[in-house]
Assembly symmetry: C2
Homo-oligomer: 551 residues x 2
């Protein structure tokens, strides 16, 4: 019998002191609970993704030092810990992405990752060499374990992305159980993917699986945890909580995994929008915690997007730590102010009304000579948006608030926003949430009681930068727009593909052209909290001046 | 005897129509000149780097269509053209980065790239499968040619980055000559690297080499051309021009390459700062040309950085297409205005003086209530910088100018700049040029006659955002700062390494802390023209909230 602990932890990239301490604390508790093996997630000592810190030799040395410190604690208990390890051959990159087996105070074995995800948000071949020839199971208390690292179990689909399958090698040694350590970021359909992929592995190899994922957000990437114990049919024995730290204990005996607190149920939700909600709250919370900030500010327009961000910020940071500015101009409607005030009151957050008219008049006077005789156009609209950005940033600078950006994914996609205006902010909370999903999210938040004013949800969206402006003046209806955008951005459809689904050809070409042309705006956008399988940012790297437009 | 043309071309990413036409035009001219083989650069049909367009199936289909169109033109002449090609096996990624041999109207052979650079600005394993088992030379008019693609020849150093060397395989077939097609971006020491690496290849295999590189800028990346013919000792037979298109003709007979216009001399410069100058001018020129813009605007402060950008913009776009705004406040010195005016007159460019005081007063009045009783600090400095950004962007929006950013690399590194203020702009012209290099560049520009006012170069740098402010109030001297920055950014030195070189420990820790903490500003910075081996942007991917600071 082997007692195994799965330790789902929220690490911070490069915070060696805290990460090492978190690991050692859990080892000591597990040891006190007579645990034989405790398992941590991928690259746990340095956090994931450490990105180009991995090219710094002294950063790698810090990882090795952490492993030594942790190994010293492994007396009477074994631990599997993720960290880089040095390649012993000259040819190839210098480090592997590895799982260390630590026991008796030292490193007993190192398992190197074979399949290096290098797509979407992943850059692993940028840093690591792939293991192609060293496959051996480890043995603890007579239990033979096939250890793999994250992607190593994921190449199960027809169109294989890799030429080798490490589990096919390991299974030749007749392991009793599989363990996979991971840093696998959330998206709203990732849980189903994960369960499907792991079930295929369990069935194929007729083995149970223990899976440890990291939790916590690292700027754009939100790690959901959801660590797992599956039986040899891939059925769930236990699923750990989502979006929070947890240690769960199991017994492995006679090829069967048993959960030791069988009445616990996981916090996972099957509702897409609930998952997005929880991910965004954690994304905000960890962005602030890990950067050392506590207070957020945003502009509250009375519309749905800023209302959503205010609610999410309050849920992440507490109402005492969120301030909003209402920044009306002569084009702002009465209801906008009222809707914003209603929300501020419901949320019990500090607010201030700062009319931008005086500053706007002064700017227009400053430009009067240069712009003499020219009609009001998008320039003057942008000036208003930029003055709001400027006033929000002034509060941010003066009082130490972080400005939250409220741009949604539909707007970011088509460039419906002002660079250095409403695109200001340190974190784009809704940058991966389409407008139609913003409505779903608002309704989800209002499911038990009205938090976001009904009027903010129901009125036609407007930037209120000129009289009677509506989003629908220049954009198609959001349900049509979002369908086209999702086909292009998430599914890499061609314009012909999308038109064939029944959309107007001119509209499709116009929308795709807007997406491509506005790459320059997204280039300068704040980090986007990723909740979908394809978010703007590090996971979507498009040429800025590529001539491949549809307009 | 085989007559060979090397076609060094400025392609545009995704501009299939133009790229294909450029290739066909050169094939037809070469054919009229009785050429047996014409060689184009890596991924020539789609341009390099096409980035995530390569994940779009219809984009790849467009590449295949271009190859068909080009193949049709190859009657009585052979061509080597770069394009993706489909992988024939299910395992692995779906496409290769390939060199197509076209002749007799069709594809005769496809050579797939083996070594896929995935570091710095390169992401090739993100898109392409590596060729590990298909190595065969091609034969044209009895000449046996070992064709490789860019990186395939570059793994020559002691610490090998790859496990296989494709040229080691090809040489077994006793080729007569090597041809390498490339898209190899400029940095100020790249020419020496290239000559060194190719000399090692020529000597190792005792073979001459023909090398074709693309020219032209693609947003951040500037491709310098500099295509080459080298003999079997690696000595230069002919070097093509830098930073411009060119077709050069050669004869290959009895193992010897002969250049057919032997009196041509290449435009290369051995002076680092001259190279940077030429690269930046091309970078600006192509950014505008490929995005379809003609006119630039920038704020001229009287300081050295904006003066430099104005000169470079005029050299790239012409004086009729550059406008400057002088944006004085109450803190601006008389000499700043005069120095800026002197430059505008020397460059014969349009200028306008727009005093920001009125707008600044209105903004401060708008904030008076909120900021009541609080002292002037960086907040008020940022307001001035942001008002300047706002006024420049208003001109940009109203008249269709692209705003050029004037932030230098030293400032970008330590965050000495205002986000949404002086960090506004579509292109960061000097973002990879340290302040000390800005001085070198100014002196280079002034080498024959004073263009940049001597006063702009000689006065102590100041942001002029409060009375008597100087950069040296908050930063170390730029020669010290830049030395520390280069050690950390270019050479990945640890703080201990840098201190060991004789720098003050507290200063080193403070500077490195500033670099890490200001990642959030650079995240939202405009694309930076890359001229060094390690530029901010796509080639340096650092975590934004990584806790690995030295403060």
């Amino acid at each position: 019998m082997l007692k195994i602990a799965l330790a789902q932890v929220n690490f911070q990239v490069g915070n060696f002191e805290s990460n090492t301490q978190k690991i050692i604390d859990r080892i000591q508790t597990a040891k006190a609970n007579n645990t034989g093996l405790i398992v941590f997630s991928e690259l746990s000592v340095c956090g994931y993704p450490a990105r180009d810190f991995l090219t710094y030799p002294h950063f790698i040395q810090q990882c090795y030092k952490s492993i030594s410190l942790i190994a010293e604690q492994c007396q009477g208990i074994a631990a599997i810990v993720g960290a880089p390890s040095p390649s012993k051959v000259i040819a190839g990159k210098n480090i592997y992405n590895s799982a260390y087996l630590l026991s008796n105070g030292k490193v007993q074995h190192i398992i190197n990752k074979s399949l290096l995800p290098t797509y979407d948000v992943f850059d692993e071949y940028r840093y690591f060499e792939s293991n192609t020839n060293d496959f051996s199971c480890i043995e603890i208390n007579g239990v033979k374990i096939a250890v793999t690292v994250c992607e190593d179990l994921w190449d199960v689909d027809m169109d294989k992305m890799y030429k080798q399958n490490p589990m096919d090698e390991l299974v030749k040694q007749s392991p009793d159980v599989m363990i996979n350590i991971a840093a696998s970021p959330f998206n709203y359909e990732h849980r189903e993917d994960r369960l499907r992929v792991f079930k295929l592995n369990c069935e194929k190899y007729n083995l149970p699986l223990l899976y440890v994922n990291q939790t916590g957000a690292q700027t754009e990437l939100i790690f959901d945890g959801g660590s797992l114990a599956l039986d040899n049919k891939g059925e769930i024995i236990q699923e750990l909580n989502y979006f929070e730290e947890q240690v769960a204990y199991f017994e492995f005996e006679n090829a069967v995994i048993k959960h030791l607190q069988p009445n616990n149920s996981s916090t996972h939700s099957t509702i897409k929008i609930a998952r997005i909600h929880d991910a965004l709250v954690l994304g905000i919370k960890d962005y602030f915690a890990k950067l050392g900030f506590t207070k957020a500010i945003l502009g509250l327009s009375g519309g749905i997007d800023s209302a959503l961000v205010a609610v999410l910020a309050v849920r992440a940071l507490g109402s005492a730590n969120v301030k909003v500015l209402l920044l009306p101009s002569q084009y702002s409607s009465e209801h906008s102010i009222n809707d914003a005030l209603a929300l501020a009151n419901t949320l019990n957050i500090e607010y201030e009304i700062v009319n931008i008219t005086q500053a706007n008049t002064a700017v227009e006077a400053t430009l009067a000579n240069a712009f003499s005789g020219l009609a009001f156009n998008v320039t003057e609209e942008n000036i208003q948006a930029r003055l709001r950005g400027l006033l929000l940033m002034a509060h941010s600078n003066k009082f130490g608030y972080v400005l939250l950006n409220t741009t949604n994914k539909s707007e970011a996609a088509v460039g419906y926003g002002t660079l250095y205006g409403d695109m200001c902010g340190g974190l784009a909370v809704l940058g991966d949430v389409y407008k139609t999903e913003c409505y779903e999210l608002s309704n989800y938040i209002n499911k038990d009681a009205v938090v976001i004013p009904t009027n903010s949800i129901e009125k036609p969206p407007s930037a209120e930068l000129r009289p009677n402006q509506k989003d629908s003046d220049s954009l198609p209806d959001y349900d049509v727009l979002d369908t086209i955008l999702r086909a292009y951005i998430e599914h890499c459809n061609s314009p012909e593909d999308i038109i064939a689904k029944g959309h107007n050809a001119a509209l499709v070409n116009r929308v795709l052209g807007m997406v491509n042309i506005n790459e320059f705006k997204r280039f300068q956008m704040a980090p986007v909290l990723r909740v979908s399988p394809k978010a703007f940012g590090m996971g979507r790297r498009m040429p800025l001046e590529g001539k491949y437009k549809y307009v």
